[in-house]
């Protein structure tokens, strides 16, 4: 019995989502009266998880897990799930989590629902609300299986401190058969990724050209935010595809999304709908984004943004 969470880390530290999963798992574990077990791979110090309500942390530290391969990680999680007779496994919505979860679902013959928002509506049978139609709607989905897996939409639940006495243990790695070899990993260093960012600053065609992107970058730096762009901007090659947010690009689920010179086409809005607070800066009062935003400034980005940066710097230095 018990609930298992797969906690991800980067550069020796837990990602923000690990604490969110711990808080989320804790709430369900309390309702069911079962243990909350976290698994971490190749992480020296897993103690911070104790502050977020985990009962048990199983650490697997092994050279075979050095570079991420989904098959390898899925096999290790499957082994733990079986030994511990886990009924529910919770993942984040990171690229890696979405890579592992379907593989694990097949190996455990488990039901799987991704993009789950909020706590389950019922636990027997497991019924969850998940986003669909690229954030334009939700569906209520029932998973009536011995083992179920859910992927929690990032930033949809939040993390809450809840210190517990934690039992730490080490497990040895199992080796999966795979011919997949990781050749190279290129990370854009020092920048916040769109998936992990609390704040995202996004630019559209209204910025008139890539030479004006310092406005977006400066604002992002001031706020510690990730940078993003609309589809036309990435299609024209002003910015890399990895920054394209929207229906066919990346989804954004940040706390704050600031759109500058983005008109707000339906496909763009679909991608950013899960962001909590949306701000639009656009000189066209008819831009559809104003209907989707919480706060808006009708004005020239080339004047408003530098002033916003300056005022934010003053605000931050208080």
């Amino acid at each position: 019995m018990g609930i298992l969470i797969y906690t991800e880390s980067e550069n020796g530290k837990f990602k923000k989502s690990a604490y969110e999963l711990a808080s989320y798992g804790r709430a369900i574990a309390d309702q069911l009266g079962v243990e909350l077990i976290a698994v971490s791979f190749n992480l020296e110090d897993a103690t911070p998880l104790g502050s977020y309500g985990v009962d048990q942390v199983i650490q697997i530290n092994d050279p075979s897990l050095e570079s991420f391969t989904a098959q390898q990680y899925a096999s290790n999680l499957a082994t733990i799930a079986q030994t511990k007779e886990i009924k529910l496994i919770v993942f984040s919505s990171s690229a890696n989590a979405k890579y592992i979860a379907p593989l694990l679902a097949v190996s455990l013959s488990a039901g799987y629902a991704s993009n789950v928002v909020g706590l389950p509506e019922s636990l027997e049978p497991l019924t969850v609300k998940r986003s669909c139609f690229t954030n334009k709607a939700f569906n209520t989905c029932t998973l009536d299986n011995k083992v179920n897996i859910i992927g929690l939409s990032n930033n949809s639940y939040g993390s809450f401190e809840n210190p517990k006495e934690v039992n730490f243990s080490q497990a040895s790695a199992v080796i999966a058969e795979t011919t997949i070899k990781v050749e190279q990993v290129e990370k854009s260093s020092g920048e916040v990724s769109i998936a992990d960012a609390d704040i995202v600053v996004s630019g559209g065609r209204g910025l008139k050209g890539p030479e004006h992107w310092h406005l977006i970058e400066d604002l992002a730096t001031t706020l510690g935010a990730a940078t993003a762009c609309s589809k036309p901007v990435s299609d024209m090659g002003w910015r890399p595809h990895s920054e394209h947010v929207g229906q066919t690009g990346k989804p954004v689920a940040s706390n704050l999304y600031i759109a500058i010179g983005v008109s707000g086409a339906i496909q763009h809005l679909a991608g950013i709908n899960s962001s909590k607070v949306k701000v639009v800066i656009n000189n066209d009062p008819e831009a559809p984004f104003f209907k989707a935003a919480d706060y808006g400034v009708i004005g020239d980005a080339f004047e408003v943004v530098p002033e916003l940066i300056e005022k934010l710097k003053a605000f931050k230095s208080y």
Partner: protein
């Protein structure tokens, strides 16, 4: 090389999303259906392999007869043949089971499915299919080269790109980057005429069981009106974000 591209028949990206029958069914009224964009990037890459490396490209979908125009479009784009598994599936697990039964008979070298569909956003089918077949799997695939039974693929990760190599057979979860938007093929009259002659076979479904079911749909709560701040009152915006929204 034998390539299979798995196709989802989905509402066009500009569609208004509504539900009928007590919010239990998607309202297809007035909605234009298209090839799922992630699948189309994959199909376009497959047609490239057909043209440059003599691959044979098959497309398949799991769905009722209303999906056939979408399959014909895939044939017009360049696929050699099409299959439709005659089943209205309940979830991605069921789709993967149906596809895996077909793949076991055909022994494809490369199977391409969009990393997720834009309607259910399950992101389940390619991974589950690879696991059911015991094939290698790379999702969020944004570049793919194949030479002599070995694939080199790039995967988009959070904040970067990972490059992997692996042996075939391989299943990939396709996305933008695999080809660019400008590479997408708009069928010409010749392609459309040829597509009519190409084979589109209907397959009887195998026994499968879904592991989830959808009981209802809902739309997000309507949004309150935007609060406008004058461009010369930027302090007010910062104040609102700090004190009201509490996000900075």
């Amino acid at each position: 090389m034998k390539i299979l591209v798995c196709i989802s028949h989905v509402p066009d990206t500009t569609s208004k999303i509504n539900f009928v029958e007590g919010d239990t069914l998607f309202d297809k009224n007035g909605v234009q259906f298209v090839i799922n964009p992630n699948d189309e990037f994959g199909l376009t890459r497959a047609v490239w392999f057909q043209q440059k490396q003599q691959a044979e490209v098959t497309v398949i979908t799991v769905g009722d007869a209303s999906c056939e125009p979408t399959l014909r479009k895939c044939l017009a784009i360049g696929a050699n043949r099409a299959f439709r598994v005659d089943l209205q599936p309940s979830d991605g697990f069921e789709v993967a089971q149906q596809l895996s039964a077909h793949c076991k008979e055909e022994n494809y070298d490369l199977i391409i499915a969009g990393r997720e569909s834009i309607d259910y956003n399950g992101a389940m089918v390619p991974g589950m299919l690879s696991a059911l077949l015991g094939y290698n799997f790379v999702t969020n695939c944004m570049a793919l080269e194949i030479a002599g039974g070995t694939a080199k693929a790039s995967r988009e990760i959070d904040g970067g790109i990972e490059t992997v190599s692996c042996e075939l057979p391989l299943v990939i979860g396709a996305q933008k980057g695999l080809v660019e938007e400008k590479d997408l093929i708009i069928p010409n009259m010749r392609g459309i005429m040829q597509a009519r002659q190409k084979s589109l076979s209907v397959l009887a479904p195998v026994e499968s069981d879904a592991k989830s079911s959808i009981s209802k749909y809902e739309k997000p709560a309507p949004k309150g009106a935007v609060k406008l701040v004058e461009p010369d009152q930027i302090d007010q915006l910062i104040d609102l974000l700090h004190n009201e929204a509490k996000v900075i």
